[in-house]
Symmetry: C2
Subunit: 253 residues, 2 copies
């Protein structure tokens, strides 16, 4: 099931380690929910969060964005629609590929213990290791090329980001994402701080197949419009969803 | 122009820094020529080599596999059919992504000085920075996910490879290549030493869209058949092309 990115301009990032608003129907006007955080996220609180969201807004697709394989299990894979794994371009080696190769090696060798059997994604792979199975994995996985631009954020600390990318480097990273890594998503993350439209403008020039997401500090309709006008396919709004649902509502285009 | 991988089982790797055989028509039964090496390759000897090959066997596609951007110019991009850039999974950080991001950043900012204008690939990009241009770049580029398994080779030293991958890791890397990085090529490189079929068997189970190449020490019809039977889409033969054309001929399936 491919996401229809053309219809997605507003994404809500829900952090399972934070308190959720009492009333989740506020999510009904967002286009996609991303479940993930940078700290204290577990399999259990992920499942609980996904379950609450499904109950309140059953038609909104849910994407899990884990930062460690401990947050992925048979149950989480069943519960979510997409599994997105970030590769952080300006992070350390672990967060661009070492952890990813370990994860996929685990899938091929210890798949039963990590994920159980009978899953839509990995079960068939274990059974047949064949053509259709790999296609199924590919269909549910959404690799993301990340650039984390707020060095003071938890996300930067967790992934070993020590340096912001310049706008030229953002442009080059976009071209590499589009033509070399061919990730379906490039994500410019200002985590908690509004970064303005310039990085998005730099990246958007070089993206075509790859979808461009911007996240960080969006708290108003004007900021949402500014980022979308600069060329982002969608904005990701997180903090104010947890802190101030009325403000959150104003970020929806 | 997409390569028809179904028709390619035998690839010849021609090292511009080594002496070429007097008679290049020996290449007429190979399916693809890769031009590249690990040492002393320059833009000039690349161009000279490509020119000699074109003259002798005009119908064989030529792919350049550079290890540094100094080997790429306006002329080389024009001269070759494909440009393949290796990302070495078990190498250092530079050889998996830092150099790649620098290269693409250069393309977006200093494209004129690196590559000139009017090229089929990059020229249009500079002119329009638009949709079709990026598609053109994507069409000529063939990213390769590499695993270098001979620690004593020059290739391993150049790319910072300090550890061979186990068969389990090869399998995981194949699954990651197919589903996460989505590189069109995975290349198992034993550089100068025959590695046998086991790594190829481990990788082939998890590859579908991604083409599997094996290179290293193939000197006979039996070895060629063994690697192809193990699941490689094509074998890459290099050393004996330079050293012993009669032996080289016996590696052609």
């Amino acid at each position: 099931m491919a996401l229809s990115w053309g219809e997605i301009t507003h994404i809500t990032k829900v952090d399972p380690a934070k308190t959720l608003p009492q009333e989740l129907t506020v999510l009904r006007d967002t286009d996609l929910v991303m479940v993930g955080g940078s700290d204290n996220v577990t399999e259990a609180n992920t499942l609980e969060t996904v379950d609450r969201i499904r109950t309140s807004v059953p038609d909104i697709p849910i994407l899990q964005e884990p930062y460690s394989s401990g947050q992925i299990s048979k149950e989480t894979v069943k519960a979510v629609d997409y599994l997105s794994i970030p590769a952080v371009y300006n992070g350390d080696r672990d967060h661009f590929y070492t952890k990813h190769l370990s994860f996929f090696t685990s899938l091929t060798t210890k798949a039963e213990e990590i994920t159980g059997t009978g899953l839509p994604v990995v079960g068939d792979l274990i059974a047949s290791k064949g053509r259709d199975a790999v296609a199924d994995v590919a269909a549910k996985l959404l690799p993301e090329g990340y650039v984390i631009q707020n060095l003071d954020s938890k996300a930067a600390r967790v992934t070993g980001v020590e340096r912001r990318f310049s706008e030229d480097e953002i442009a080059g990273t976009a071209l590499a994402t589009e033509t070399f890594y061919q990730f379906p998503i490039m994500y410019i993350e200002y985590s908690g701080m509004y970064g303005g439209p310039s990085d998005v403008e730099a990246a958007a020039k070089f993206l075509d197949e790859t979808v461009l997401l911007y996240g960080g500090g969006i708290q108003s309709h004007e900021q949402a419009r500014e980022i979308l006008s600069a060329g982002a396919d969608a904005i990701v709004v997180g903090d104010c969803f947890h802190d101030d649902p009325a403000r959150f509502r104003r970020t929806i285009p």
